[in-house]
Amino acid sequence: MTLEAAPLFTIENLHAGIEGKEILRGLDLVIDRGEIHALMGPNGSGKSTLAYVIAGHPNYEVYEGRILYKGENILEMTPDERAKLGLFLAFQYPTAIPGVTMANFLRLAVNSVRKARYGEDKALSPREFRRLMREKLAMLRMDESFATRYLNEGFSGGEKKRAEILQMALLEPEFAILDETDSGLDIDALRTVADGVNALFNPNMAMLIITHYQRVLSYIKPHFVHVMLDGKIVASGGPELAEELEVKGYDWLKAEFAETAS
């Protein structure tokens, strides 16, 4: 199999957890360029763990399996090495960094990623960066004062989520995970964020949208929907699977899964 033919992103038999407690129990997933996948599941099914493991959170341990990105196993890489390959995670609970302005942080982040991905001479000058930042702020209908605010400090829930999408817009990932980006957003904010995400999506990239509810999927249309239970993907299908879940809840799948497992 040549690298060109390999899918953008593959998870094979992933077993991972935290402090010796296994949470992901043999998870497989293949995502290719131009695809939006939705990962759904009840609380505690391991969705956020999966997001952290893909991004490289140091507290999580991988017991078995591989994560291939562009044909390369990324599990031994540090989080910044993964980011420099074009991976991005929009956090469910972004961390505040007091005293660090959005603009200062993002300029350093954008330039380290740009240099790694496009070449040393592709860093943006302060002026170019300001222009790009203003453009993306406008796209997400965010006030320009965001640039001078401290990173996530004192942000409302909705502001934090928008700020995550702003970062995604500036970092131009090829593979983005959105972890419960819809939670805590009112309907107007959800629409703005979804519009932003849709505008950013292109056939060269892929997205994994982690969500508890079907609601966000009427704004961001997934090509594939997966359901996760107990650290495994137990059902996969098209958008109709999300609608079915909306009507029937997760219980029928739990019952079915319990049967097949026994």
Binding site: P58, T78, D80, A83, T95, I97, L108, E120
Partner: protein, 470 residues
């Protein structure tokens, strides 16, 4: 491929940038150790008036009588007999850099002083070992009556002013190290700002120790007449030696009615220097005194800039940053002494400890009886970078008056793994993420610095991080 700048950064990360040394080519160097003869010798070489000679000898008695402080940092390895107390590098002082001996000039070039002078300073003093080798002040300020000379020149040329104020704010018997400085002082700055004159761009003094086992004892006196303003900045570096050097300065400041003085220090001594400094200011009616104190280098620092609030309306402020990395103890803080009613003060201290480094906040707020309607606020935040680093807080309050408003907050935090992970997940290396968190932590203080110094401070912290991670 790494860029030139990155290569330089990598190289710097592994070493103290200012650790280079010049060969010793001195006019005079006193023998090691301290006694009456050495003090007499210093005074004789400086051709001082008798009152100053007497002042020194009296101070020497105080120094010899006083025990070492038993609190604060560990000074037990400091051997007073191993120090050269006076080193004279050159016969005369330059008014232009061309007049400074070539090797010393080169040193200051490497430290970026002449460049900084051209770009953003109103006046510069450069001290090398015991003597000030270069001094300049912009002509327009000179014409307005501003005086900015080294302390030895001031004793000769402005004896009345010096005699009136010298040793009044920090008396020779104030503490052991003030006594030591009073006995062997040499160099330092004398600044006089006449009534109503505002010196809008900073004056800077730069202190450089070069010789091994050197003691540097500069003495600074700043007088701001009513309505005047000055911002004085000092920077300090030294080569790295395996043996200890001693820096023990005294700074005295008088800010008269409605005047304002800001004194900024970026201390970056090499990690073999004991830095034991007494800094104190008196602020009179409606006057403002601000100490901005950044301590990064040295083996041991004990320094608590103080403001005595003498008359109603006086305001004092200390903004202190201490960074203690492996093997360092930064014992720093501030003191506010409210002598008069309707005075206010603020101390904001930010300390960072890394590895075996230890940062302590030590501060005093004292309110004298009768000093009612005093407002004072103390905030000390400590940031620990790893498991073994250590921080302590010693906030002393002596309040003798009822009608006062005193606030105190202290926090200790660790760099959260979540913060590091978050920043790294955006493409920042661990070192970059760490220095960003630290720079954010001290941002309330760096935003008070002139841009050039804020950048320098952030860069120094980044270098500390580069050396530590990975």
């Amino acid at each position: 491929m790494a860029t030139e700048a990155e290569l330089e950064l990598q190289r710097l990360g592994t070493e103290y940038k200012y650790g280079f040394r010049d060969p010793e080519q001195y006019v005079f160097k006193s023998r090691k150790g301290l006694d009456r003869e050495v003090v007499e010798q210093i005074s004789w070489m400086k051709n001082e008036p008798d009152w100053m000679r007497q002042f020194r000898l009296k101070a020497l008695e105080y120094f010899l009588k006083r025990p070492l402080p038993t609190w604060g940092a560990d000074l037990s390895e400091l051997d007073f007999d191993e120090i050269h107390y006076y080193v004279k590098p050159t016969e005369r002082q330059g008014r232009s850099w061309e007049e400074v001996p070539e090797y010393i000039k080169q040193t200051f070039e490497r430290l970026g002083i002449p460049e900084a002078e051209r770009k953003f300073l109103a006046g510069v003093g450069a001290q090398y070992e015991s003597e000030v080798v270069y001094h300049s002040l912009r002509e327009d300020l000179e014409r307005q009556g501003v005086i900015f000379v080294d302390m030895d020149t001031a004793v000769r040329e402005y004896p009345d002013l010096v005699k009136r104020y010298f040793g009044t704010i920090v008396p020779p018997n104030d503490n052991k190290f003030a006594a030591l400085n009073s006995a062997v002082w040499s160099g330092g700055s004398f600044v006089y700002v006449p009534e109503g004159v505002r010196v809008e761009i900073p004056l800077q003094a730069y202190f450089r120790i070069n010789a091994e086992n050197m003691g540097q004892f500069e003495r600074t006196l700043i007088i701001v007449e009513p309505g005047g303003y000055v911002h004085y900045v000092e920077g300090c570096t030294a080569p790295i030696y395996s043996t200890a050097s001693l820096h023990s300065a005294v700074v005295e400041i008088i800010v008269k009615e409605g005047g304002r003085c800001r004194y900024t220090t970026i201390q970056n001594w090499s990690k073999n220097v004991y830095n034991l400094v007494t800094k104190r200011a008196a602020a009179y009616r409606d006057a403002t005194m601000e100490w901005v104190d950044g301590n990064l280098g040295s083996k041991v620092t004990m320094k608590y800039p103080a403001v005595w609030l003498m008359e109603p309306g006086a305001r004092g402020e200390v903004l202190s940053v201490a960074f203690a990395s492996d093997g360092q103890h930064q014992d720093a803080g501030g003191k506010m002494v409210h002598v008069a009613p309707y005075t206010s003060s603020q101390i904001i201290s930010k300390s960072i400890s890394k590895g075996t480094g230890r940062a302590s906040y030590r501060g005093l707020v004292k309110v004298h009886r009768g000093a009612h309607h005093v407002r004072s606020n103390v905030v000390c935040d400590a940031l620990l970078l790893d498991e073994q680093s250590r921080t302590d807080t010693y906030p002393y309050m002596e309040i003798e008056e009822e009608q006062v408003s005193i606030g105190h907050e202290a926090t200790v935090s660790k760099v959260a793994e979540e913060q590091l992970f978050y920043l790294q997940s955006r493409g920042l290396s661990e070192a970059e993420a760490m220095s960003m968190i630290v720079n954010g932590f001290i941002e309330p203080i760096t935003k008070e610095l002139p841009l050039e110094y804020a950048v320098e401070l952030n860069r120094l912290i980044q270098l500390e991080m580069e050396g530590s991670v990975g």
